[in-house]
């Protein structure tokens, strides 16, 4: 029997995987992808909780989150392009001129 906890814990696991991305990769685009993983983890929570509560709110919230994800992706990718023009690189380690 699949319980709500199954989904919630899977979602937590997915969220944690998303958070690791920022520490492993040397490519800004992959960092953005890990944010998408995190958002999807949250989406799973919404859908699962909505289903177990028997309401459609969860699904509707997921639509909004998708919109937000799309908007964030658009701005984020535009930034990636802008920043790539400066350094011809996508490594986050190359952008440390602002510090201390």
């Amino acid at each position: 029997m699949v319980t709500l906890d199954h989904y919630l814990i899977l979602s937590a696991l997915l969220f944690a995987i998303g958070t690791v991305g920022v520490f492993l990769r040397r490519n800004i685009i992959t960092l953005l992808l890990s944010v998408e993983i995190m958002l999807n983890a949250v989406n799973l929570t919404f859908v699962a909780v909505g289903r177990y509560l028997g309401s459609v709110d969860g699904q509707i919230i997921v639509f909004f989150v998708m919109t937000v994800a799309a908007a964030e992706a658009a701005v984020g990718l535009a930034l990636v392009i802008a920043i790539f023009r400066h350094g011809e690189t996508l490594s986050p380690d190359a952008f440390t001129s602002l510090k201390w």
């Binding site: 958070t19 380690d93 510090k99």
Partner: protein, 689 residues
């Protein structure tokens, strides 16, 4: 009307700050002086009106507007003139005016531009000081409190091209901020406890309470205020800034670091006299710190060679006296001493300024000597000041200092009395050491030689200069010009006569000043009966002192008179002894001093190095921070600023340095890591609860 008193200097500040650069020196200086003069005039008129009121009702309140008012939270912008504030106002505006006048001559070598800047600061300072004095509640006082601190900072560092001056400014500011912090917390606590910040309302609220015999909220509030006062008034452990503050122009030292601002701490305690008298534990602390500071600074003053530093330590020492008075409950005596001290200390600072002016900036007493003939006005006025501070009978310092010592003894603090008397001895010694080194003996200043070469006719005499020579440097030395001489003379007159408002009963006087000031130290009239009852209780000898003073006002008992006379004779003897020692050591047998220094070199070194207090601070606070911050933290940061700022923030910076350096590395990964650590901690915090 009261608002006009600080308003005029403020207008002077505005004008000099905005268009001062386009004005000539005469105009901007004259403007500043005029502002002070008018302010003084208004103060006199206001004071006169105050005197016209019956003794118990001598309070003039003037609310400009409601500054902060919402619910329980009330703080009107109110000025209040009562005897205490009135006296302070006269001192600040009167002596302030004289110092402004003096400054017009002293600072005349500055450019037009700088001249206006100087006077704008000076006016601003006066305005803030008057706000501090006139404020009817803690919050208004705090405006002035912070303002004078800021002005002091600006004025000490006025000659900012001199590294030592900017350092001294920073040091003063850092130390003052430590005190201010305690003051603000005390203020918040007072508001939380009494629901008001008005001095009279607090006094009325406190008067209904029994004195706090064990440690409690009153003691805490008063102690916090006292810490604030130690910062502003240069007491142990926060006195270290004042001697360095001498890097500022001499008139500034006279005005801020002798006559007015540094007395703010004493004044603040006087303002809160009722509060303090209900916290006997804090009073003990105040008295002990006061006398300890007096003694310590006195010993240091003994071995200093910089003329202004001697005066600075003397100021610290005299402030210690005032705190002693406050601590033993002799509020009126403390304020009386504040008032007389303002005259003679301003006089001596201005006198030293005249000396320095004449010698083109020389401040080392070892390079002076024999200036008596060359600078007669300066010499004689200075001598009056020194006699006054030493406590020679008939001059103002005698009356006030004696009053403090008598009160100390009468309140049962015989140990403190002994220490206070010892300090009196030291005072006389180092003051006359200063006089002898500066004005007597052989001239040792460079001008004595150069001037001789320039002036042919003086050549021989200068070359074979004898102890009594007078023309050697005379060719190039000028005594104080008019604008400097007049303030000196006026202050000298003040130093002589100012004490006569407080001739003690023992000498057949009526101690008018104490009677006059007493209402300021008692709770508002309508609660007076309750207070009298409280004071009558036997367990409260300390706080009852105010009541004793009142009793004295009406007629001292025989025993008291006898005691007072005995003490008086003792301290006169002590003062004369001190002068005698100084005469013996530094005038008659100058080699004795050197021999003494050679005989007990450790003592001399200890005193010369100011008990190594600065070094102690340096070793325990400054150095560790410097070390930790030079280990590669925040590269390329203005090191001078770190030093200055870090003095105060020391342990904070050191403690967090390693982590912070790692943190702001510019790498977004690290930032995210900090974010995650925070999140994990936040969640963990909730889960383990």
């Amino acid at each position: 009307m009261l608002a006009l008193i600080p308003l005029f200097p403020f207008i002077g500040f505005i004008i000099n700050a905005l268009i001062g650069r386009r004005l000539s020196k005469a105009t901007s200086g004259g403007l500043a002086c005029l502002a002070m003069l008018v302010s003084f005039g208004v103060a006199v008129v206001a004071f006169w009106r105050l005197l016209g009121l019956p003794a118990e009702a001598r309070v003039i309140d003037e609310t400009l507007f409601t500054w902060i008012a919402s619910g329980r939270f009330q703080a009107p912008l109110t000025f209040r003139l009562d005897p205490l504030a009135g006296l302070m106002c006269l001192v600040v505006t009167g002596i302030g005016f004289l110092i402004h006048v003096y400054s017009t001559a002293y600072m005349h070598e500055e450019t037009d531009h700088e001249y206006a800047r100087y006077f704008s600061y000076l006016n601003l300072f006066a305005a803030f000081m008057l706000v501090l004095v006139l404020g009817a509640n803690l919050l208004v006082m705090f405006i002035g409190w912070e303002g004078v601190g800021l002005c002091s900072y600006l004025l000490i560092g006025y000659w900012f091209d001199k590294q030592s001056a900017t350092d001294a400014g920073k040091k003063a500011f850092v130390v003052n901020r430590v005190g201010d912090m305690a003051f603000i917390v005390g203020m918040c606590l007072a508001f939380a406890s009494f629901g008001t910040l008005d001095f009279r309302a607090i006094a009325a609220a406190v008067a209904a309470l029994p004195p706090e015999v064990t440690w409690g909220v009153l003691s805490t509030i008063t102690l916090l205020f006292f810490i604030g006062a130690t910062g502003k008034s240069a007491q142990i452990p926060l006195y270290i800034w004042l001697p360095d503050a001498m890097e500022g122009p001499t008139p500034v030292s006279a005005l801020i670091h002798a006559a007015t601002m540094v007395t703010a701490g004493v004044y603040m305690i006087g303002r809160n006299a009722v509060l303090y008298s209900h916290a006997p534990l804090t009073m003990e602390v105040v008295a002990v710190i006061g006398v300890a500071t007096a003694l310590l600074a006195g010993t240091i003053g003994l071995a200093q060679n910089d003329i202004k530093r001697v005066l600075a330590y003397s100021t610290v020492s005299q402030l210690g006296y005032m705190f002693l008075a406050m601590g033993v409950g002799a509020f009126a005596a403390g304020i009386f001493h504040l008032y007389t001290h303002a005259f003679f200390k301003a006089l001596m600072f201005l006198g030293s300024g005249a000396v320095i002016h004449a010698l083109h900036g020389e401040q080392d007493m070892r390079k002076m000597g024999g200036l008596r003939r060359a600078l007669p006005i300066t010499y004689w006025t200075f001598l009056i000041g020194a006699l006054a501070i030493a406590g020679v009978p008939g001059l103002s310092g005698f009356f006030s200092k004696d009053e403090i010592l008598f009160r100390t003894f009468a309140s049962g603090h015989s140990v403190l009395w002994v220490l206070g008397t010892a300090t009196a001895l030291l005072t006389a010694v180092y003051m006359f050491r200063l006089i002898y080194l500066t004005f007597h003996g052989k001239p040792r200043y460079e001008g004595a030689y150069e001037g001789a070469q320039e002036a042919h006719r003086a050549h021989d005499r200068a070359a074979h200069a004898q102890g009594t020579h007078n023309h050697g440097g005379g060719g190039v030395l000028h005594d104080a010009p008019m604008a400097m001489a007049i303030p000196l003379v006026l202050l000298a007159i003040g130093s002589v006569v100012a004490g006569y408002v407080g001739v003690p009963h023992a000498l057949g006087g009526s101690n008018r000043i104490e009677t006059f000031l007493e209402p300021s130290f008692s709770p508002p009239a309508h609660t007076a009966p309750a207070v009298a009852g409280t004071h009558a209780e036997p367990g409260v000898a300390l706080s009852g002192e105010g009541a004793h003073a009142e009793a004295d006002a009406h007629g001292a008992t025989h025993a008291d008179t006898a005691l007072e006379l005995t003490l008086m004779v003792t301290s006169v003897a002590i003062a004369l002894m001190g002068i005698g020692i100084a005469t013996l050591v530094w005038l008659k047998r100058p080699h004795v001093a050197a021999a003494l220094a050679a005989r007990v070199p450790w003592m001399h070194r200890l005193l010369l190095n100011k008990w190594y207090v600065d070094e102690l601070y340096d070793a325990t606070i400054v150095q560790p921070i410097k070390n930790s911050s030079t280990v590669g933290l925040w590269k390329g940061v203005d090191v001078g600023v770190i030093d200055g700022a870090v003095n105060g923030t020391g342990w904070l910076v050191r403690g967090s340095a390693a982590g912070l350096r790692l943190a702001q590395s510019g790498s977004v990964r690290i930032y995210a890591a900090a974010f995650f650590v925070g999140t994990v901690l936040v969640i963990a915090f909730y889960l383990v609860r």
